[in-house]
């Protein structure tokens, strides 16, 4: 008897799961597309000050995902990656853009669920401006030595939101160090300036075409 009830329950659960699976085929691609578009938008925004127009994805040996950023001539301008730091009540995600000397080009917080009115001030934009005031102070600073004033750095933390401020600052610094390390191990031939893969391929094929009689 119990077996029959159990089977009936499993049948109902299976039916429900089937229906959900159908809906999932519709919504999963939309969700993935949303996320991709949002990340791309963030990347463009943080590198806008340097005139970047193209990005190329790279994955380092340890799984770190970062993007090489190029201007319209194909010259390497900098790097973008996602920095993650444990905040007060959530993991804060910041899209961080650096130039080739690893100074901060721009930052954009893409996920946080910090304390309303305190940690959330990290995304607050003053009237008449276009970017959060907390993030503006990072621009141009050496990303590899970032720290809040309490930790002997020169970043002004948000009043009452030290933990959130530290999360952003430290994660951007750690991410810069990781990308710097990954870039140092990139398979770029010695003596050649860093070019985008496609541009290098074009030059390579053009050169080999020229060499033919």
């Amino acid at each position: 008897m119990i077996l029959r009830l159990g089977l009936l329950l499993m049948l109902i659960a299976a039916l429900a799961s089937g229906g959900l699976a159908l809906l999932n085929t519709q919504t999963a691609p939309v969700i993935a597309e949303n996320k991709a578009r949002e990340q791309e938008q963030a990347r463009t925004e943080v590198m806008r000050s340097l005139g970047v127009t193209r990005f190329e994805k790279r994955v380092a040996d340890d799984g770190l995902v970062y993007y090489r950023a190029f201007d319209e001539r194909g010259v390497l301008i900098g790097y973008v990656t996602v920095a993650r730091g444990k905040g007060y009540s959530s993991t804060v995600e910041t899209v961080a853009g650096y130039d080739t000397t690893f100074h901060v080009a721009g930052l954009k917080i893409t996920f946080q669920q910090e304390t309303p009115g305190l940690g959330t001030k990290s995304q607050e934009i003053r009237k008449g401006e276009t970017t959060p005031w907390f993030l503006q102070q990072f621009a141009g600073k050496d990303a590899t030595t970032l720290a809040v004033k309490k930790d002997r750095g020169d970043i002004d933390a948000i009043t009452g939101a030290t933990i959130t401020s530290r999360a952003v600052t430290n994660s951007v610094r750690e991410a810069a160090l990781k990308v710097k390390d990954a870039v140092a191990h990139e398979p770029v031939p010695i003596g050649q300036p860093a070019l985008s893969d496609t541009l290098a391929a074009e030059i390579g094929s053009a050169a080999s075409r020229e060499e033919q009689p």
Binding site: A13, A16, S17, A21, N24, A28, Y88, S89, T91, I163
Partner: protein, 201 residues
């Protein structure tokens, strides 16, 4: 094993982000069971037990069956998370009910309807979902669940202690019962806000 990381989780879930007073999870039973100290303690123990077991089961199910990156069949079934978790919790509560009925019938009577209601305790499902959202390892999830349960029990005991005294206090009629409980929870929440200054360097 990163012990300091676990300590951060423990202090975080009990004090800094107390599940009841800061995260708003587990309010219904909180208001219902916090009238007497003895039933509050019993309920708290049951919740800690269910929360830890439920987090264990749901973590295993998520990473072995649902998450494409780690599951045995590599298909993305994460959309089944809610159904799977709540069914696990419902079965666990049934099981715990039977065990308590056999081993501690007095406690079973005292908890009454609130025992099966642990199924709808948002804190139990909440901690299971949080473990996944925060990408905790199995050990971290178990520690988080147990700490969350302890935090819930702590809030429950504090509230019950105060409410027992309130029986002899002169409260305006409209505020008697549930409203005054909420006002006191508010004051306790203010006190717990003080823990937000705790940091671990």
């Amino acid at each position: 094993m990163d012990l300091s990381n676990l300590l951060v989780i423990v202090v975080g879930s009990i004090l800094i982000n107390n599940f009841v007073l800061a995260r708003f999870l587990g309010i219904c039973p909180y208001i219902g069971v916090s009238k007497k100290l003895s039933s509050a303690i019993g309920m708290g123990m049951a919740v800690i037990f269910v929360m830890t077991l439920a987090s264990l089961a749901s973590w295993l199910i998520y990473y072995y069956l649902l998450d494409p990156a780690t599951s045995v069949w590599g298909v993305d079934l994460t959309f089944l998370r809610t159904i799977a978790f709540i069914l696990v919790i419902a079965s666990l509560v049934q099981f715990v009910e039977m065990v308590i009925q056999k081993l501690a019938p007095a406690l079973y009577q005292a908890l009454g309807i609130y025992l099966p209601l642990i199924t709808t305790n948002c804190a139990v499902l909440g901690v299971a979902v949080l473990n996944i959202d925060e990408s905790y390892t199995l050990i971290e999830s178990l520690v988080n669940a147990a700490s969350a349960g302890v935090g819930f029990t702590l809030a429950l005991i504090l509230m019950a202690g105060i409410r027992e005294r309130l029986d002899t206090a002169d409260i305006p009629k409209p505020l008697q019962g549930v409203p005054i409980a909420f006002l006191m929870a508010g004051l306790m929440a203010i006190a717990f806000l003080g823990f937000s200054g705790l940091s671990f360097g």
